[in-house]
């Protein structure tokens, strides 16, 4: 099978998985490119960032139109993530690959643990009446009140930094931040994070694009696969139970985390 088809198939898998589990897909794209295709880590991170924009913007269009994403909150927090992503993108040019691999392994472990905890939490404490950001008391204001904005903006900087440095959307940081720290309903947090990922990833991707760290011929099939996979995942998401998927995801993430840790230790 030609390399382009394999790359597109990998992107499809990452995009579909990402859409089904509420992730950008970058958490899978970087390891697939690095461990599966032998792509250097900076190029894998840059390719992942630009691919993540496609998943985010495609899904965000639906979430914004449906009123699920809180655009005001997303843009406010984007002030932190954009600065963080730019800083991360610049830092990536100086940080040794092995350290980036080690940080990615830690991110994978954190993501896996978060997903498992989410399974057992099962939407506990959710107020159904509050899960509707499209109830404006002004032209676009949500019905609920968020809190701890300065803390959240500082946390957003960290989320953006993780995104720019490791090539992920930053949703693994932003969703818990909006839900647990700011008190936004979980569905709103997920949809808003999805909207923000495009802005964050674009800010980080500029540095990679203009530095020559994104191989166009590598990125093109991945982006096409990811875009198709995200659309497929969004289409079937209502018909597939997420529990078995999360279980599979955690197994994959554990395996990839070990491989990335070995890469960090110079043993891979």
């Amino acid at each position: 099978m030609p390399n382009e088809l394999l790359l597109a198939a990998s992107g499809l898998l990452a995009g579909a998985f990402g859409a089904l589990l509420g992730l950008g897909g970058g958490i899978l794209i970087v390891p697939i490119l690095t461990l599966g295709f032998g792509v250097p880590l900076p190029a894998a991170v840059g390719t992942s960032l630009i691919s993540v924009i496609a998943t985010s913007t495609g899904a965000a269009a639906i979430n914004v139109r449906a009123g699920r994403a809180d655009v005001r909150l997303g843009i406010t927090l984007a002030a932190g993530t954009v600065v963080g992503a730019v800083t991360g993108g610049i830092l990536a040019g100086f940080v040794p690959e092995r350290i980036v691999a080690g940080l990615f392994a830690l991110l994978l472990v954190y993501t896996g643990v978060t997903m498992v905890r989410g399974l057992f939490a099962g939407g506990r404490g959710e107020d159904p009446a509050a899960v509707d950001p499209s109830a404006p008391d002004g032209p676009s204001a949500p019905a609920y009140r968020t809190r701890r904005l300065p803390t959240a903006i500082a946390g957003s900087f960290v989320g953006g930094n993780v995104s720019g440095l490791l090539g992920v959307g930053g949703g693994v940081v932003m969703v818990p931040l909006m839900h647990l720290v700011m008190g936004a309903p979980i569905k709103v947090a997920a949809a808003t994070s999805n909207f923000m990922i495009g802005l964050t990833a674009a800010a980080g991707a500029f540095a990679y694009l203009f530095r020559g760290d994104i191989d166009a011929r590598l990125a093109a099939p991945v982006i096409l696969g990811v875009a198709a996979g995200a659309a497929l995942g969004a289409t079937v998401s209502g018909r597939i139970g997420t529990r078995p998927l999360v279980g599979l995801f955690v197994v994959v993430v554990a395996y990839v985390a070990v491989r990335m840790a070995l890469l960090a230790l110079g043993a891979a």
Binding site: V71, A78, A79, S134, P136, A202, L209, R211, G212, R217
Partner: protein, 120 residues
């Protein structure tokens, strides 16, 4: 909360959603066209070049490069649409925040462009 207010809330960001949807679609089509051209002509891949060098050199990789830049610009377009939406609604605080983030994004773009420009 009435049904009409819900519809109004979603409708207020209609332009943002439209730019996100159409921009993504357009960028993906351009990237697909460039890749199809490259595969059809068996054109050798040009690696280790910045996106601006790719675009300047022409050929299928230039088309892919234009698609990549276009894709990265989609969120900025959506942000600009949000700025217009807040301005029309007279919402000063979100307008100031959105405009600041837009300026930040544009500054990032210009800075990155400066770093990657041929001869820089």
């Amino acid at each position: 909360m009435s049904a009409s207010s819900r519809r109004a809330g979603a409708r207020s960001f209609e332009a943002v959603a439209t730019i996100l949807r159409l921009g993504t679609l357009l960028a993906v089509v351009v990237i697909a066209t460039g890749l199809a051209w490259a595969l059809a002509t068996d054109a050798p891949a040009r690696t280790d070049e910045t996106v601006l060098e790719l675009v300047g050199d022409g050929g299928p990789d230039a088309v892919i490069g234009i698609g990549l830049i276009g894709l990265a610009l989609v969120p900025i377009g959506a942000l600009a649409a949000a700025v217009v939406t807040f301005a029309r609604a007279g919402e000063r605080r979100p307008l100031a925040v959105a405009a600041s983030v837009l300026v930040l994004m544009l500054a990032t773009l210009v800075a990155a462009f400066g770093i990657g420009a041929p001869g820089a």
